[in-house]
């Protein structure tokens, strides 16, 4: 499991490779908060290479969403597979996040 960060124009793109769970959620949180502190405002988390997400991983996404918004920024999600889509629907987090089918559509949505 790992997180890689890249920049596409003015959007910080985070790829979640593997699981987003209690054992690694702090790493994701810190990486995004570091970018936010540097003044970045637009964030996209891409789940195309993600296995599963547990409740603490979902909690970190909620936390990041709040912190980014507090700083006047935006967080978008992309590439949820069917399982992850089900997870977001079950928890009603699909109503909280702007979710795109593809990375390209998510980037265009900013």
């Amino acid at each position: 499991m790992s997180f890689s960060i890249s920049k596409q124009d003015d959007v910080v793109v985070v790829d979640v490779e593997g699981q987003l769970i209690v054992g690694n959620r702090q790493e994701l949180k810190q990486k995004v908060l570091d970018e936010l502190e540097r003044g970045e405002k637009k964030f996209l988390i891409d789940f195309s290479q993600t296995g599963y997400i547990d409740s603490s991983g979902l909690g970190v996404l909620v936390s990041l969403s709040k912190k980014i918004r507090e700083q006047g920024g935006e967080l978008r999600l992309a590439n949820l597979n069917d399982d992850l889509q089900t997870l977001f629907e079950l928890t009603k987090l699909d109503t909280l996040f702007q979710i795109s089918d593809t990375r390209e559509r998510a980037l265009e949505s900013f």
């Binding site: 499991m1 593997g18 699981q19 769970i21 209690v22 054992g23 296995g51 599963y52 997400i53 547990d54 409740s55 603490s56 979902l58 909690g59 970190v60 909620v62 936390s63 709040k66 069917d82 399982d83 089900t86 997870l87 079950l90 928890t91 009603k92 987090l93 109503t95 909280l96």
Partner: protein, 140 residues
Amino acid sequence: MALPRVALDVEIPSDVKYIEEVVELATRQCRELHLPSHKCSLNLPVALSEALSNAILRGNAQGNGKYVRVTATVSDDAVVFDVADQGPDFDMIAERIDPTTPENVMREQGRGLFLMYRLMDHVEHIRDHGNVVRLTLRRE
């Protein structure tokens, strides 16, 4: 009808770094038993992760020298996972909240038990020298 058999029996220290490995072992069993694919890729990994997190972080409070044991028992119609810690009793029902209500959806915590109950066919809390959370997944 075949007798239930133990398909998995592992014991891990109280550290969340072991969760992924145990979930991977359980998921492999799930696939070998030809359970529906969403049960192996979503229901089991998430629910078992939650049960393990609870056992490590809350049950055992990450205590040194405390262990969490996971067993999987397979019968003709179900796979039953027992996640046992060595911690004090807790009231699982009382701690459940509905994280989908408008006042709770923005909360950062409180989805673990909800997901366990929603993703498993049956969840049971047994007190036996610690807590045992029993997760039942039907094979159909």
